[in-house]
């Protein structure tokens, strides 16, 4: 695990990181942040189950040279990832993450999934939870991006600063300026935070009074995410600009179903799904940056982590952190 350091700058030393699916926002958008940050990690960062490189990837991805069309994504990006940070031992695993046994995951400190179906997300999240592995997932749908974290029972230290009057105060010769100069004493406070399972975070009850109040302040992106995950699960792909009209219609239908099953009003999500199509590289950069930073935080066990969703809306430029866990809406 990451080492705790008392200095303001914290370096991550050892941390095994599993990045599943280099696809839309795996490396580079996620990895460039994560890899440099984990400089010093000498154990492998793995990238299993990447499907074949498709032309779309070569546009959005710069870990994947154009010459890599048709190759396995993990293998194709391996060289680039390794170039980025020779200190990180990167291994590519062309296998399918769905087929991996539980033991496969136990080797890692952090697991990060992108582009997975809801089923896989829930399954891996369960496994990680069981073995105390830090779990992250993130995706980008057009202008919308999200990150979810389940760090289980997470211990971390937070630097608290309190300005204590310099002890010299009042002593001979101290001019007023000096007396005012306080020394910021920093103390490290140990804290604990509980994260919930993705399964619980996605199946909250919105029927209680408290939940109804909370609903008004909840980012609609949370519900949009559920619609998009449903689309992915049922269609085996994300909404595509090539079938814009059809996919938009399917999304509208799914919106009605999803919101009804969650017991909330359909008006939470607008009719227009145009902003959910195609993966936007700059949105990946933002979500990837946040996710990477969270992964570093999780490993270094420093600073309060974002608990548990981060939603980014690239049109508004707004990034919201929502804690959507069962106890909070009851």
């Amino acid at each position: 695990m990451g080492r705790l350091s008392t200095s303001a700058e914290c370096y991550l030393h050892v941390g095994d990181c599993l990045t599943v699916n280099l696809c839309p926002n795996g490396p580079p958008r996620f990895a460039p942040g994560a890899l440099p940050a984990s400089a010093g990690a000498r154990r492998p960062a793995r990238c299993p189950r990447a499907p074949q490189v498709c032309p779309d990837d070569a546009h959005g991805q710069f870990l994947l040279p154009a010459s890599s069309l048709g190759k396995n994504r993990a293998e194709a990006s391996l060289e680039r990832v390794q170039d980025l940070n020779p200190m990180v031992d990167v291994k590519a695993d062309p296998g399918d993450v769905e087929q991996k046994p539980e033991e496969f995951f136990t080797r890692f400190d952090v697991v990060c999934l992108t582009c997975c179906t809801q089923e896989v997300l829930l399954k891996v999240d369960q496994i990680c939870n069981k073995y105390g592995i830090k779990f992250f997932t993130g995706d980008v749908f057009g202008y919308h991006g999200y990150m979810f974290a389940n760090l289980g029972e997470h211990e971390f230290v937070e630097e608290k600063t309190k300005a204590t009057k310099a002890s010299q105060e009042g002593q001979g010769g101290s001019d007023p300026k000096k007396a005012k100069l306080d020394l910021a004493e920093t103390t490290l406070v140990k804290k604990h935070i509980h994260f919930c399972l993705l399964k619980d975070a996605l199946t909250l009850s919105w029927s209680t009074e408290g939940a109804k109040t909370a609903l008004k302040r909840t980012a609609p992106d949370y519900f949009l995410l559920q619609v998009l995950l449903k689309f992915r699960t049922e269609k085996g792909r994300d909404p595509s600009p090539q079938s814009y009209m059809d996919d938009a219609e399917v999304l509208r239908q799914m919106r009605t179903d999803v919101l009804a099953s969650l017991g909330v009003g359909t008006d939470l999500i607008a009719d227009d799904f145009a902003s959910c199509f195609s993966e936007m590289a700059p949105v990946c950069a933002v979500v990837g940056g946040v996710l990477s930073q969270e992964a570093v935080k999780a490993l270094s066990q420093r600073d309060p982590p974002l608990n548990n969703f981060f939603f980014f809306n690239g049109i508004k430029g707004s990034g919201v952190v929502e804690c959507l866990a069962p106890n909070l809406t009851s």
Binding site: A66, L84, P282
Partner: protein, 648 residues
């Protein structure tokens, strides 16, 4: 290493129609972008390519080893080469259809005049220094091209859009003194104690801690300032990196091989390296050259001659400033202690710098002070150094990635003709009370009194006409304060007497004359022009005999519009870029700040920050920096304790 202004020129457009179906935003063909760039800039570079097929890129810099772990376009084999060129090559690998032209040049080069800027639909800045930012701001105002400004500081960052006549410009409000500096300032040309403290902290890590290429301490041979010819800089960079690897690996290894011999270390750091710096003679044309220290000479020095320097002989030990000899001994003593500590931890162990560890602090105090002495600065007490060293903010890769993404998103809005949708977006370290980590805020209208973007820029400067020389007016006021690059100054005396000419040598004879010798007195108006920036500033002289000690001049209104310290943290925070993104100078000890914070927390949480209507500054503070303000309150109890960001 970010020595001087750097720039990347992006020229979007010529999108093959078929590809348009891929991305939701439909870009007007032939939109063109100019982009000044450092790290977030390079990070955003690739993001742009899918939507733009022609990219021109300009950058003065060459790639340094320290760039590698933050900039994923660059690899080890690229070290020493032009950033712009390598960025182009890297992007081409992934987007072979992209049409990219790279220039290895400075954005402040006079070739990039108003006409040049006018060709672009959009200009994006991710610059590392105030001078270049101010310059590009003026060029964009002159050319009436929208500008995206950005900056990062540690975990904080921001992106904002500047549009002439519509929004605030980069210079609408005075900024606190810049607190970021490039690596070559640390390594070659420190001019403030903080530069030496940063250097000493890096040195600690190089010797005892984790060796980080970002924290190089040896002379930087690729300093662009040392070699004005970019080609020469590149050659130097290559040379330095060829043997650089050996040197870098060996900083610690070499120290170990000497058994952490304090005298040898002292000689390398404070004598040999300084002598090497002296050979880069261009650096010292306008600076006082450093003076190498010799261990043996110091030993023979009489303590008492130095004790005079001691400013507070009565203060406690930590507040005393010792003499050079004492610091040399403290340096040696702390090295020995740290050597033992390191050895006790076993093979391959590293020490972690901690300001509360007394030997680590002794080391940094002594090393920083010795360097300050070499560079003719007044040395600092251990107490002062401790508080300054504790506030150094490291550059963070993930922040750059996030800001890069935001730059591009704002750029897309402008390119699709929706500039009214643009926002200033702030990145917080922790979510604010409205749960926002990324906070969009409406753009503020221009400050009608801005001395840059107002229709007839005018400013009043308080100075003593009998004391201020023409050279001071030129260097400190017109160039440094008002950021003109090549100013012409004439007196509005009906005759148009030329005081300063941008033509070299033309008015040199005036340099050391006092302003009063030209008939300048209270109420005189001076007209300062910068041809390149297409900028004219009317300077009203307000003669004053009672300026504060050490103050040569004062810009009237500066304090009111945007104070440099604690009174108005809002201003400092909301102001653009590096200096604004980091809340450094908003020292926030006053009760007023508490009020501000309370007001914010009580604000109606349903009120959305995105509303264009609501645009008061308090809200900005509220949205953006709740946690930040709180944090800085405790961290920065005095205006002396500025946060510092070390860029490479």
């Amino acid at each position: 290493m970010l020595g001087a202004a750097t720039g990347v020129l992006l020229e979007a457009a010529r999108l093959p129609r078929s590809k348009e179906t891929r991305s939701p935003p439909r870009l007007p063909y032939r939109a063109r972008m100019l982009k000044g760039c450092v790290e977030p800039g390079f990070a955003s570079f690739p993001s742009f390519v899918p939507v733009s097929c022609r990219v021109d890129s300009i950058d003065l810099d060459t790639i340094d080893v320290s760039n590698l772990n933050r900039q994923f376009l660059f690899q080890k084999k690229h070290v020493g080469r032009s950033k712009a060129q390598v960025a182009k090559e890297s992007v081409l690998q992934f987007h072979p259809q992209a049409n990219i032209i790279a220039y290895h040049d400075s954005i402040m080069n006079p070739d990039y005049n108003v006409e040049f800027f006018r060709q672009f639909t959009l200009v994006m800045n991710a610059l590392d220094n105030r001078a270049a930012r101010n310059h590009v701001n003026r060029m964009c105002l002159a050319a009436d091209v929208p500008l995206i400004e950005s900056g990062t500081a540690g975990y904080l960052g921001q992106v904002t859009v500047i549009k002439k006549g519509v929004t605030e410009c980069y210079e609408c409000h005075p900024k606190p003194t810049q607190k970021t500096f490039p690596g070559c300032t640390i390594r070659n040309t420190p001019s403030e104690p903080i530069h030496c403290i940063v250097w000493a902290k890096y040195l600690f890590n190089q010797l005892f801690g984790e060796e980080d290429a970002d924290q190089e301490v040896s002379p930087d041979r690729a300093d662009p300032e040392a070699a004005w010819e970019p080609a020469e800089a590149e050659a130097r960079a290559r040379a330095s990196n060829e043997d650089g690897d050996i040197k870098r690996v060996s900083t610690k290894e070499w120290a170990k091989s000497t058994g952490y011999d304090a005298v040898k270390l002292f000689t390398k750091l404070f004598k040999d390296d300084i002598r090497y710096l002296l050979t880069m003679d261009k650096l010292w044309r306008k600076r006082k050259p450093p003076i190498p220290l010799d261990w043996n000479e110091i030993q023979s020095q009489d303590n008492s001659t130095f004790n005079q320097q001691n400013e507070s002989p009565l203060g406690l030990k930590d507040q005393q400033v010792l003499d050079v000899k004492s610091y040399a001994h403290l340096f040696a003593k702390s090295i020995e202690t740290l050597r033992v500590q390191l050895a006790e931890k076993g093979d391959g162990a590293e020490l972690v710098w901690d300001k509360d560890d007394s030997s680590a602090m002794d080391f940094v105090t002594s090393a920083a002070n010795l360097r300050m002495h070499i560079f003719s600065m007044n040395m600092k007490s251990r107490f002062d150094i401790k508080s300054m060293a504790g506030n150094i903010i490291p550059a963070i890769a993930t922040t750059n990635a996030i800001i890069a993404g935001l730059i591009v998103l704002e750029g897309l809005k402008i390119l699709s003709g929706k500039i009214e949708q643009c926002r200033a977006i702030f990145l917080n370290k922790q979510p604010n009370p409205k749960k926002k980590l990324l906070v969009p805020c409406a753009l503020d209208p221009p400050n009608p009194n801005c001395y840059v973007c107002a229709s007839k820029p005018e400013v009043t400067v308080k100075l003593n006409v009998h004391k201020v020389t023409v050279l001071t007016l030129q260097d400190k006021i017109v160039k440094e304060k008002f950021n003109m690059v090549a100013p012409d100054v004439q007196i509005e005396d009906g005759k148009g007497t030329i005081l300063i000419s941008s033509e070299e040598g033309e008015t040199e004879a005036n340099n050391h004359k006092k302003l009063s010798e030209f008939g300048i007195r209270n109420g005189t108006r001076l007209q300062a022009d910068d041809f390149l920036q297409d900028y004219t500033l009317l300077i009203n002289v307000l003669h004053s005999e009672d300026l504060a000690k050490d103050l040569e001049f004062e810009v009237v209104g500066d304090e009111i519009i945007g104070p440099k310290s604690s009174e108005q943290p809002t201003r400092n925070i909301t102001n653009g870029s590096d200096d604004g993104a980091q809340p450094s100078t908003s020292t926030a000890q006053d009760e007023d700040d508490e009020d501000v914070l309370i007001v914010e927390t009580e604000e109606d949480p349903s009120k959305n920050a995105d509303d264009t209507e609501a645009k008061n500054r308090k809200r900005k503070l509220d949205d953006k920096e709740y946690t930040g303000a709180k944090r800085m309150r405790s961290e920065l109890p005095d205006d002396k304790q500025d946060d510092v960001i070390a860029l490479d």
